[in-house]
Symmetry: C2
Subunit: 218 residues, 2 copies
DNA sequence: GTCTATATGCTGATAGAC
DNA sequence: GTCTATCAGCATATAGAC
């Protein structure tokens, strides 16, 4: 019935198991069992377990940062546009981190794993995912800071905003109660958190003397 | 020369290796080698690898939350006292997370690992460390919110403040550059970040109508 | 308490039949 | 491409000498 190739089924099973159990605790045998493939096929298609791991990351992180690209391309000339851009950045990142469906869910989980235990795939995670996200935020922050502010000021805001979003990458049970309170629908909660965080950031930004200062809509 | 017992040396070596490489990737043989003990001694003293893992957590997290207890006991009656308490909470948490010396460094790392891949020791990590920290922050937040605010408002502030601090738990290379900019001494940077975060929080808190409202020093 | 020797099982990887 | 059979190595854990 299924028309997916053996290679793709292995890739998919590996993504799930590496995400759920980690690299060391996941065996080739287990992956092949779940993929309905022979134990020898991993080495046939991917040469080794480590190469398979890298391929999983290449696949998952290839396009994951694309929702952020649109924000990075926007023309932002007023404080109102800036607020909207920051809000969108936050909400989109929250949605990536707390995705429930594969493959986004596996990507979020694997990102979290690489965050605490970086491995050979760090360059992929950083280059395809973390850096584009951070760069988009950095550009926004710079736009809202007074013209002669130091790089350190930029970084403080990145740590604040990025950090508050990062929490949602650790949303699996039994930590889920920390992140998602009972009695609120999940997407609605993400919207509320994004709105709250945006509001707090906009108490301090844009600053007086920033490129956006005094250019608000009349 | 060293007078430490075999048991303690195993515990210490295990803490380091579990923190650096994770549970699955760390072998009993490796632990014993580093501890200068016989391979059979782990099972003699701890019955199994998993029991050893639990003992490591019991040891490391027994007293780690104690710097926060003092804050939880303070009498806070003015907005100024509240600001100072929030600032202290943030700075103390930042220092725990970014500790360089063992055993705090191992505890921070193991906490981060349990955050993305919770295991049988979750109750220890949560009960001895995470919950006390969160409870102290929660009490502070509640003090600064208007009297009839919902639990959800409390949670949004916890996610914001706690999240921004969490980032510092992932400070190992190659992620260190994300967290610590070049050209600033580390402790000085932590102070700056704590000050910045406190300032941002105090734009919104304490709220009008909170228990602290209108009770500032004259 | 500390050691050696060993039991038992699983790991990643490969050779070679089909 | 897919399979079985098998390799060498390392894992946890234990039995029993000292």
């Amino acid at each position: 019935m299924s028309e997916t190739s053996t290679r793709d089924r292995i890739l998919s099973a590996a993504a799930e198991l590496f995400a759920r159990r980690g690299y060391a605790a996941t065996s080739i045998r287990h992956i092949c069992e779940q993929a309905g493939a022979n134990v020898a096929s991993v080495n046939y298609y991917f040469r080794s377990k480590e190469h398979l791991y890298e391929e999983v990351f290449r696949m998952l992180f290839e396009t994951i940062a694309s929702p952020l690209e649109e924000i990075a391309r926007r023309r932002i000339e007023t404080a109102t546009q800036w607020r909207e851009a920051i809000h969108d950045w936050i909400l989109k990142v929250l949605r990536i981190f707390s995705a429930e469906d594969p493959p986004q869910r596996w990507a979020a989980k694997l990102f979290a794993r690489e965050r605490v235990a970086p491995s050979s795939v760090f360059p992929i995670v950083y280059g395809k995912f973390f850096h584009p996200l951070e760069k988009a935020l950095e550009d926004l922050i710079r736009l809202a800071l007074a013209r002669r502010r130091s790089e350190h000021e930029v970084r403080k805001w990145i740590l604040l905003i990025g950090g508050a979003c990062d929490v949602f990458a650790y949303h699996d049970a039994p930590w889920d109660e920390v992140v998602f309170p009972a009695g609120v629908e999940k997407q609605e909660w993400l919207r509320q958190v994004a709105e709250h965080l945006t509001g707090v950031v906009c108490c301090g930004l844009p600053e007086k003397g920033s490129p956006l200062d005094g250019e608000g809509p009349k």
